[in-house]
């Protein structure tokens, strides 16, 4: 494992009585792409601003490349930042914008020009030197902002919701580009986002946050397939939840049904939630096999490549969402009002503490 580049130790931040961040600790390895993911107000932007030095923590420590930078002035830190608004200087040309940080670092004019040219080529905007920000599209402005942040070759790149002001198509395209660029340059990157798709596709490591605490840290696959909490499970991807009680070491009871579970359960626990992703529910023609229940299709919703059906299982109040492909749908005759048998495979179940 590569060495830790940035380390946050027990960060707290309070605004009056509001506890924006509670005991946040995190290690970021060199060259890693980390996403802070969470709903608005979860503290992800506060954390980014503390790393940048734009705000101060109430308690805790920030270490970058082995130095304590908790209270270091913004200017004495080594990072580049891209804001949601891009914050391009409207009265300066693209070239002057990108070279803005180089001018005060005594870089000679020819070197500056060469660096700007190189960066513009990197972000795919060669030849735009003399344009002004207002003459560029949103996606192009974002690239210029990225080039400006990278111009001084910072050790750390901070991205604050960089794609949220763009339309869907441009966003998907830039997502890939930023990721490739980051891999090529090997710059340690932290991106703040509320878009789980963005986080899943771009990050090496996702930090899921809620109410000022870290809910889970892990790779995109881990966060998706092994969510540590009901919040992570519901925020990243779709998830069905059922109220249940522990009935045995490996069995649960929900309504009239017994549900088999793969892992060991704590019999002392009551009031737990069983969860399953819509794509993990399987349909069958008859009621064979474990965890298979009879029910009815209440409603179907066409999503393009697949269909999302809403199921009512006999003896369970909460409706379940299940995704099926178009082919499966035709063979199993899944239509609103039709009876179905469906299985909740025991190796795909998640169990979380507490009622929802």
């Amino acid at each position: 494992m590569s060495s830790t580049y940035l380390a946050l130790h027990n960060i707290h931040q309070k605004f009056g009585t509001h506890h924006a961040l509670k005991d946040v600790s995190l290690d970021v390895a060199e060259g890693e792409f980390v996403c802070f993911l969470g709903p608005s107000g979860c503290g992800k932007t506060s954390l980014l601003r503390i790393i940048a030095g734009l705000d101060l923590p109430t308690a805790g420590k920030v270490n970058q490349a082995g130095t304590d930078i908790t209270y270091a002035p913004v200017k004495h830190r080594d990072f580049g930042i891209v804001f949601q608004s891009y914050a391009l200087f409207p009265n300066l040309s693209v070239e002057d914008n990108i070279a803005y940080g180089l001018v005060t670092q005594n870089v000679s004019a020819p070197q500056r020009r060469a660096r700007v040219k190189e960066l513009l080529a990197t972000v795919g905007l060669s030849g735009s030197e003399s344009k002004y920000p207002a003459q560029l599209s949103g996606g192009q402005q974002q690239r210029v902002a990225l080039a400006r942040a990278l111009a001084t070759s910072p050790g750390l790149l901070l991205l604050d919701e960089p794609l949220s002001a763009l339309d869907a198509r441009v966003r998907a395209h830039l997502r890939q580009e930023i990721k490739q660029l980051q891999e090529k340059l090997g710059v340690t990157t932290i991106m703040v986002t509320h878009d789980q798709e963005e986080a899943l596709t771009m990050a090496d490591k996702i930090v899921v946050m809620n109410h000022g605490v870290i809910e889970q840290i892990g790779s995109p696959q881990t966060v998706y397939t092994q969510p540590k909490s009901a919040f992570v499970a519901s925020f990243v991807g779709e998830m069905n939840f059922l109220q249940a009680d522990v009935a045995g070491d490996r069995t649960l009871k929900s309504g009239d049904h017994t549900i088999e579970f793969n892992g060991l359960l704590d019999p002392k626990q009551s009031d737990i939630q069983v969860a399953i992703r819509p794509e993990d529910i399987r349909f069958f023609a008859d009621q064979d096999g474990e965890n298979t229940y009879a029910g009815r299709v209440a409603h179907t919703e066409f999503l393009g490549s697949r269909v999302r059906s809403t199921l009512k299982l006999d003896g369970i109040d909460a409706p379940l969402l299940a995704d099926v492909s178009m082919n499966e749908m035709a063979t199993l005759n899944i239509e609103a009002g039709h009876p179905v048998y469906c299985q909740l495979p025991k190796d795909r179940l998640h169990v979380f503490e507490g009622a929802k």
């Binding site: 130790h9 940048a52 420590k61 209270y71 200017k75 040309s93 803005y100 940080g101 005060t104 400006r148």
Partner: protein, 571 residues
């Protein structure tokens, strides 16, 4: 995960006492501190001296409310309260109605020549308030050309004060009203139309409520402007006493400073009331219009359009007529006996009041005010808006910067005498110099400039400073390279506002000029006082022309030069 978790994660590190600011942020912070000290000395302390003087007697002993009691129990003095209030109320009603009609014509009809009408109706702002008063003397005075229209009534008194005050406050009212009526939402009109409302009903249920805050704001502004103005009643008021002339008489005529201070405090009340109402209204107003509003485009309404066209022509004719009368009077050799045109009245050096020197003094004062004032105000408003930290200082800075709006010029001038002329004041030396005139004028007009600056700065991205800090660029460099160029139009607005007001103001400086620093606007007053009305008119015309030139330069630099040299402004 890895070995770092074994490192002790205690929070033993303390925040360094110097915070996390870098050197240049500390330097900018100290400039802000210097700025707030300057405001404290130039605005807060003088007003405090005035307030304390109003509860002292001649010997400087505390006498409580005795001065106020004397004022109220002296019939000749207390009657001026009634006079002032009734004059101000009448003007408020007239100006608010006319400004509403004019603004409606400019924003909600299809009449031609809107730009020209607007330009003409804004003209009075370029002249001192003395100009309409002098003009009225020529039109309706004892030897006036239209004296018969008054049917035996005298122009010297309430009638003159009302007409003159309406004339010079009209453009101020019009500006606010046009803004209020420009904010339309076509969807409301469409809804009213679809629901079958008559034009009259639409007017009373949509148009009028939409402009409600603007109308209230105009009413308060006009009331305050009229009640605190001193130029018009001084020239044309005759024996009709108002509060503003009382202060002048008490201080200049009778050297009764304590009574002057007491009257000033009374005069502060309506201004403070207006100020508070205005703040309150602005908070309400902002919530009124959503960003989704679709501007309303006036349909063709022949009768309505014709009515407003006639109204605009009449209003413009009155404005032009009053100004033209002053210009004509200044050119007539000897009214009304020798109507031959000459420039005799422009030979100011032959009259009392300071001569041509006072004109050049005014230009000098206005230039200093514009240059120093704009530099100081804009840079300070930049620091207030864009420097990190210093929350308490910024809060007080804002408070001090807003304060002058509630202080009438006459009151501020008197406050300056009390504060700067005190023998124990180390700044005593600037009393009677050009410096005190410049300082007083900047302070007097501080608020509008400060708000212009902060509004412009609020519109630029708040992350510019963060970005430049992350690029290790000093903040002052970003100010010079980005914030200042982007805000140049606002900077020009501030400079031209300060210049024009410095040229035309009488109220504050009338107490502060000395033999060496006579000013053009004060010369108008003094020549009129001495009976040299034609030269007074001539000087007023000179002031107006100078302001026109300043406005033309402003337009040229702002609209022609900036747009051609700053390619990025054009999309």
């Amino acid at each position: 995960m890895d070995a770092t978790s074994t490192v002790s994660r205690t929070n033993s590190n303390k925040r360094p006492f110097f915070g996390q600011k870098s050197l240049d942020e500390w330097l900018l912070g100290s400039v802000l501190v210097v700025g707030i000290i300057a405001l404290f000395i130039c605005i807060v302390l003088p007003i405090y001296s005035l307030l304390s003087k109003s509860v002292q007697n001649n010997a400087g002993e505390f006498v409580g409310l005795d001065n106020f009691l004397t004022f109220i129990t002296t019939p000749s003095l207390s009657s001026s309260i009634g006079n002032s209030v009734s004059i101000a109320l009448i003007c408020t009603f007239i100006v608010t109605s006319l400004a509403f009609m004019a603004a409606y014509g400019l924003t909600r009809t299809k009449i031609p020549l809107k730009g020209t009408f607007r330009l003409v109706m804004a003209l009075p702002i370029l002249a001192p308030s003395l100009l309409p008063a002098i003009s009225l003397v020529y039109l309706f005075g004892n030897q006036g050309i239209m004296k018969e229209l008054l049917m035996g009534e005298s122009i010297y008194g309430p009638i003159g004060i009302i007409i003159g005050s309406c004339f010079w406050t009209f453009p101020h009212a019009l500006m606010i009203m046009v803004t209020a009526l420009s904010n339309t939402d076509a969807r409301l009109y469409e809804s009213a139309d679809v629901l079958g409302a008559s034009p009259a009903r639409t007017f009373f249920t949509v148009t009028l409520p939409g402009a409600k805050y603007g109308i209230i704001s105009v009413a308060f502004v006009v009331f305050t402007l009229v009640i605190t103005d001193f130029g018009v009643p001084k020239v044309i008021g005759g024996q009709f006493n108002v509060l503003a002339t009382d202060i002048y008489k008490q201080v200049i005529g009778q050297q009764n400073f304590e009574m002057g201070a007491a009257v000033s405090v009374i005069l502060l009340l309506p201004a403070i009331l207006t100020f508070i109402t205005d703040r309150w209204l602005q908070r309400r107003q902002s919530a009124l219009l959503t960003s989704k509003a679709v501007p309303w485009v006036a349909p063709k309404r022949p009768i309505v359009d014709r009515f407003f066209l006639v109204t605009m022509i009449i209003l413009s004719a009155i404005v032009i007529g009053i100004i033209a009368m002053a210009v004509y009077a200044s050119l007539v050799t000897f009214w009304p006996y020798n109507l031959a045109l000459s420039l005799n009245n422009y030979q100011f050096d032959l009259m009392d009041g300071g001569g041509w020197e006072s004109y050049w003094n005014s230009i000098e004062m206005a230039c200093y005010t514009a240059v120093i004032g704009t530099g100081f105000i804009f840079f300070q408003s930049y620091l207030v808006e864009k420097l990190g930290g210093y929350k308490v200082i910024k809060w007080f800075f804002h408070l001090f910067a807003i304060l002058p709006l509630a202080v009438p010029g006459l009151v501020l001038g008197l406050a300056y005498i009390f504060f700067f002329n005190a023998p124990n004041n180390p700044l005593n030396g600037i009393y009677g110099t050009m410096a005190i005139l410049v300082v007083c004028t900047i302070s007097h007009f501080y608020t509008v400039c400060h708000l212009t600056g902060t509004t412009a700065l609020k519109q630029i991205d708040p992350e510019f400073e963060s970005v430049s800090a992350s690029l290790k660029v000093p903040q002052i460099y970003t100010f010079w390279r980005v914030s200042l160029p982007v805000c140049l139009p606002a900077v020009l607005d501030i400079a031209s506002y300060l210049f024009v007001n410095a040229m035309t103001t009488v109220s504050a400086v009338v107490f502060l000029y000395s033999y060496n620093t006579t000013l053009a606007s004060v010369a108008v007053l003094n020549m009129d006082d001495a009976g040299d009305i034609a030269p007074a008119a001539a000087m007023a015309v000179m002031i107006m022309m100078t302001c026109m030139v300043a406005k033309i330069i402003h337009w040229f630099v702002g609209d022609v030069l900036l747009k051609s040299s700053q390619r990025w402004r054009v999309r």
